[in-house]
């Protein structure tokens, strides 16, 4: 049991680090969700049955039921949702951070549906694309 708590604490720490704004590493949605379910699956089933995770509803429920929610879940869920939010923010920032590179290297691609992104990450372009654009694409989890 002690090992398990250490593991969970480790996971929570990892997520916290990842969620920090300056962090470069983006964990996958599956990894984030695995951490959430490992720590909170039982709490969700017991306290928040029927609550969907989108739109802050699950966090609101877990906060409301805080008295019944396990410590490992409390440690984890905020970090998980922070990491999801950080990744969404990184994705939203890509068009602006890659605007110059897109105009320079991918002007012949139609905008708005992933074609420019595919152009920017092509191996012959990755080397030329600006560092901030490359980093933004990595943070967005789009490689």
């Amino acid at each position: 049991m002690r090992k398990l708590s250490i593991l969970i604490a480790g996971l929570a720490t990892t997520l916290l680090v990842v969620a920090a704004p300056a962090s470069a590493e983006t964990i996958s949605y599956a990894e984030a969700t695995r951490a959430l379910i490992a720590a909170c699956g039982a709490d969700i089933n017991a306290n928040c049955k029927g609550v969907k995770p989108g739109g802050n509803r699950l966090q609101a429920c877990l906060a409301e039921k805080a008295g019944n929610v396990s410590p490992q879940c409390k440690e984890t869920y905020a970090a998980v949702f922070a990491s999801l939010a950080a990744r969404a923010k990184a994705q939203a920032a890509v068009p602006q951070l890659c605007k110059y590179d897109a105009e320079r290297y991918c002007s012949n691609f139609r905008a708005g549906d992933g074609r420019i992104l595919r152009c920017l990450i092509r191996s012959d372009h990755v080397r030329k694309v600006s560092k901030k654009c490359n980093q933004a694409i990595t943070d967005a989890g789009w490689r």
Partner: protein, 196 residues
């Protein structure tokens, strides 16, 4: 004691096969991607009109003698030709709430949909039931479940809503028509309906 309804999520991409089923917990991102990559133009008709498909199903439900028919309506047959991967998504009984144990599966689908090779395509999330209960009820439940998967992909995992459409086929396209009540018929498909 709620009975758990097992649905299957099936992701469809390149042309020509009906997909592989993966048991809960054994699915990997690599399998999803591998199954989904290379769809492109092969999926062809980006013109799938979900509203038209919905009314085709509703019309058929009203026709006597079409229940458990060996062959589904033509549009649905055409969609079945698109390649796909099948995974488990479990819902609460009689509900569109995805059980927490299946959230990782939806997250894996989201990870796949965020890969640049798939970002240029559009996907139909299709809900299917078995033949227990009325056809109308099953259509409605499968519709809500398909929308629930789409909602989680969009609101929790930031998948672009422009990449997705959702529709419920009810029991009109059974996976195992010889055993209409079998659990293998309950599933959700994600079908690559071509470049967007």
């Amino acid at each position: 004691m709620p009975i758990r309804a097992v649905l299957l999520v099936s992701l469809s991409l390149a042309a020509g096969y009906t997909g592989t089923a993966f048991a809960q917990g054994t699915l990997t991102e690599g399998q999803i991607l591998q199954s989904l990559a290379g769809a492109g133009a092969a999926a062809g008709a980006a013109g799938y009109d979900v509203q038209a498909i919905r009314s085709e199903i509703d019309q058929r439900i009203r026709v006597e003698g079409t229940e458990n028919a060996a062959s589904p309506p033509p549009t649905l047959q055409a969609l079945a030709q698109l390649p796909n991967i099948t995974v488990d998504v479990q819902f609460d009984f009689d509900s569109d709430w995805i059980l927490p144990e299946s959230w990782v599966t939806v997250a894996q689908i989201a990870d796949a949909l965020h890969y640049p090779v798939l970002l240029t395509n559009k996907f139909a999330i299709v809900g299917h039931t078995d033949a227990k209960g009325s056809r109308e009820y099953n259509r409605e439940l499968s519709d809500r479940r398909a929308f629930s998967v789409m909602e989680m992909l969009v609101t929790t995992f930031n998948v672009d809503p422009a990449m997705l459409v959702a529709v419920g086929f009810g029991e009109e396209q059974l996976r195992d028509p010889q055993n209409p009540d079998s659990g293998v018929n309950r599933r959700v498909q994600l079908i690559n309906i071509g470049p967007r």
